[in-house]
């Protein structure tokens, strides 16, 4: 380990002391880890005020349509902005309120369905956007309030389960909503189609031009995002925000100090739900349809990953999390990009683990050499062992470095996949020297598995990556990349 200047709040020299919580003390130890280099970076960035950074960020985001005219890329950009808004909303509930809400996506769905009901042929209502959107947002806030009511008495895990049930309830009602007392309210499993795009003052914002995604929606989404960001920031820096912080840190102490704990909880639910509902309207107006299946549990986990990766409790951190995970998930759908992402991630991981040092060079060289050796051996045994095709990025490198058989025998995927997992787990257990020696073959095996087993099923691979990110994040850096260092008093 290279220069490890201890931090200002130092490690107690003798380890945990009397009167000090053990986890707090160990936490201070962990802070000497390299990843903490982000903190001084952050200190330096505080030079400019927050609104300057926001403006810069928005400006950069606005440049996206200038860089690319692909409707697909712009749609991904739009989706990412939606994710950012959802992450901001979830941040209110989880990061500021400290409440584990597993039913958040239901509010997103409520917003979308609310917009669809007010602006489609379902009930033949076609209100203008300046009427529908505020109504839906207020409706979302009320729904959040209603969900919060029974949840006041629940804590931690129980709250999580009740909110999860609420999501299931929402899905059940919406899927069967085509015969509520004989009326077709939600369109049932077919959903509601031909929802109007945003329209106000007689002008309709078209969702596409010649089939290509209309960039105006992207700008509308960015505008809404900016409004939400600024509004939430003001709320956070007000009395309410400070009260939320005290509630999150220690609910019992907060209550003892006279904080209206229940009201605060309800408020945090409401704000979060309102933001989700707003995002829902954008989603519905662009898709021009709402389906019950669009609001699924996996989406919730994705948003959680964004919030946690970035760092719950800080808005800019959460936005960063969304910015990383959103496009990443989309890019992983495409086998071409997936491969590039894998190798970049590998290289970045090695860099972060070893720094630009001799170890890094040795490992990289060893892996490459091992690869070529294996490839040559395999090619000489039987040419069909390396004759498989590997579409996409880095093709030439990969086809001469990696063993890609033409036909994968049935037993190879499960055995190698489980093998890679076992190897990875073992690597965390062995001493450092052994780890360094085992690293090149493990990396090669991982590359083999990625290319032959995971790329052909990019959808499952995406979620595996997501799951792994969650697990690793919790173990290594539970506060996320930019989160505030929190300690829970047990």
């Amino acid at each position: 380990m290279t220069d490890s200047t201890p931090h200002s709040s130092d490690i107690p020299a003798e380890g945990p002391a009397v009167g000090q919580d053990e986890w707090v003390a160990r936490h201070a130890e962990r802070r000497v880890l390299r990843w903490d280099r982000l903190a001084p970076l952050e200190q330096r960035l505080r030079v400019a005020p927050w609104w300057a950074w926001l403006a810069l960020f928005l400006g950069a985001m606005c440049l996206l349509p200038a860089i690319t005219s692909s409707g697909y890329a712009r749609l991904v950009g739009f989706d990412t902005v939606l994710y950012m808004m959802l992450a901001l909303g979830l941040n209110v509930v989880v990061g500021w309120g400290g409440l584990l809400d597993l039913g958040y996506v239901a509010f997103y769905g409520l917003g979308a369905y609310g917009y669809a009901l007010l602006d489609s042929n379902q009930f033949h209502l076609h209100y203008a956007a300046y009427f529908t959107i505020p109504v839906v947002v207020v409706g979302g806030a009320i729904a959040g309030f209603l969900l919060g009511l029974p949840s006041r008495r629940l804590h931690g895990d129980y709250l999580a389960i009740v909110t999860l049930f609420f999501l299931q309830l929402f899905q059940t009602i919406v899927t069967n909503g085509d015969s509520i007392f004989g009326h077709n309210v939600t369109g049932g499993a077919f959903g509601i189609f031909n929802v109007d795009p945003l329209h106000a003052f007689g002008h309709t914002l078209a969702t596409q031009h010649g089939g290509v995604f209309a960039v105006s929606y992207y700008f509308v989404a960015l505008a809404f995002f900016a409004v939400v960001f600024v509004a939430l920031r003001f709320v956070n820096h007000s009395r309410t925000g400070r009260a939320w912080r005290s509630l999150r840190e220690d609910p019992l102490a907060a209550e003892a100090m006279g904080m209206p704990v229940n009201t605060l909880k309800l408020m945090s639910f409401s704000f979060g739900a309102a933001v989700a509902a707003l995002t829902g309207t954008l989603f519905a107006s662009l898709s021009q349809s709402v389906l019950p299946l669009s609001f699924y549990f996996v989406l919730l986990i994705t948003i959680y990953t964004m919030v946690i990766l970035g760092g719950a409790g800080r808005q800019h951190a959460v936005v960063l999390g969304a910015l990383v995970i959103g496009p990443l998930l989309e890019l992983l759908r495409d086998p071409n990009k997936s491969r590039i992402i894998f190798y970049v991630a590998l290289a970045v991981g090695l860099l972060l683990a070893f720094g630009v040092s001799r170890t890094f060079g040795v490992i990289a060289a060893a892996t490459t050499a091992l690869g070529f050796v294996c490839h040559t051996i395999a090619a000489s045994v039987h040419h069909s062992w390396v004759a498989g095709s590997s579409p996409g990025g880095l093709q030439h490198f990969v086809s001469s470095w990696l063993v890609i058989p033409k036909h994968l025998a049935g037993w190879i995927p499960p055995v190698t996949y489980i093998g890679v997992i076992c190897v990875a787990l073992v690597l965390t257990l062995v001493p450092r020297r052994v780890r360094l020696v085992l690293l090149p073959p493990s990396l090669y095996l991982a590359a083999f598995v990625w290319d032959n087993v995971m790329l052909p099923q990019s959808d499952a691979a995406r979620y595996i990556v997501l799951g792994l990110i969650l697990i690793a994040l919790m173990i290594v850096r539970p506060n996320g990349l930019l989160g505030e260092r929190r300690v829970e008093i047990i």
Binding site: P150, H155, D157, L169, N176, I464, I471, M474
Partner: protein, 307 residues
């Protein structure tokens, strides 16, 4: 009346599977205060292990061993496999987080659940796997049985309910009459004090996961004997198992069994008498009501928060 009897049998069968899953949740929650979201997916892996062993032993139409031995072997294999899986998950995904804020192992569990379900999909694709018990011995398991009035209780259902009762008795004996069980109970009351009394917490927790996941494996085989399994069943099964645990009182073993039966009955009777379409809604509402008004469940202890 025949409908009622039939529905009750359905309820008991369903409930037995839920109870076995719920037992796993209860055990882990009691010791770690952790909601193991990955439990449902361990259950799913158990069904696939059972399927694999079934194929190895010749498949349903041509088994190389007698039927009762076949089922026992499959169950034991699934239990063993799931137990190992549970221990591995605990060691690598939960142990590093033992002293972390409560939310951390929860999120990690979600990650593990994701990882398991999608890994199985990656390796085994989304095709349903059918044990085809109907073909076993020419439908012996379906046609033999005893009669209650006009309704026949087939052998298969007797096996399911019987296995659940047997396993629960074994578990009860293990937890209440052995030293390891005593260590488990001690750890669930107060982990730090138990550590100070010389109990190896790591071993106890590992044992808990071993037991809980083994039960999930058994539940998996019992489930898959009657119904085809896919990689996607883990989430819903876990949810239902968890609700059964909560209704019965999380942390209490007889509570898990009771909760499973109650949940099975709620589902069955609602579907039979009220409406199939809204059965999910009714069941969820009952459960939410339970959680709000009696969160400690039927047989659990009320949680007293110390200041």
């Amino acid at each position: 009346m025949a409908t009622f009897t039939q529905l009750t049998i359905d309820a008991l069968t369903l409930g037995s599977v839920y109870a076995l899953i719920a037992l796993g949740y209860t055990l882990v929650y009691g010791v770690l205060k952790l909601l193991n979201f990955a439990h449902g997916d361990v259950f799913m892996v158990g069904t696939f292990i059972g399927y694999g062993v079934l194929q190895l032993l010749g498949g349903p139409s041509n088994p190389s061993v007698p039927i009762w031995l076949l089922i026992t072997l499959i169950t034991l294999a699934a239990m063993a496999g799931c137990a190992v899986l549970g221990v591995v998950i605990e060691r690598f995904a939960y142990r590093p987080l033992r002293d972390a804020p409560r939310i951390a192992p929860l999120i990690s569990a979600l990650g593990v659940s994701f990882f398991l379900a999608n890994s199985m999909q990656l390796l085994f694709s989304a095709t349903p796997r059918n044990y085809n018990t109907f073909a076993l011995g020419n439908g012996e398991l379906y046609f033999k049985g005893f009669d209650i009035g006009q309704v026949r209780v087939p052998l298969l259902r007797i096996i399911t309910i019987g296995a659940a009762i047997l396993l629960m008795i074994v578990l009860w004996v293990l937890v209440n009459k052995t030293r390891t069980g005593k260590a488990m109970r001690a750890t669930s009351y107060d982990r730090e004090a138990a550590a100070m009394m010389g109990i190896d917490i790591d071993r106890v927790i590992m044992f808990t996961f071993l037991l809980g996941s083994g039960l999930a494996g058994a539940a998996g085989v019992m489930f898959a004997l009657r119904v085809p399994t896919t990689v996607a069943i883990g989430f819903v099964a876990g949810l239902k198992g968890f609700t059964a645990a909560v209704i019965g009182g999380i942390g209490s073993i007889p509570g898990a069994m009771a909760g499973g039966i109650i949940l099975g009955c709620a589902e069955s009777y609602t579907q039979g008498y009220v409406s199939t379409k809204w059965s999910d809604l009714v069941v969820f509402s009952i459960l939410v009501a339970f959680m709000i008004f009696r969160p400690q469940g039927l047989l659990g202890r009320a949680d007293i928060r110390k200041v």
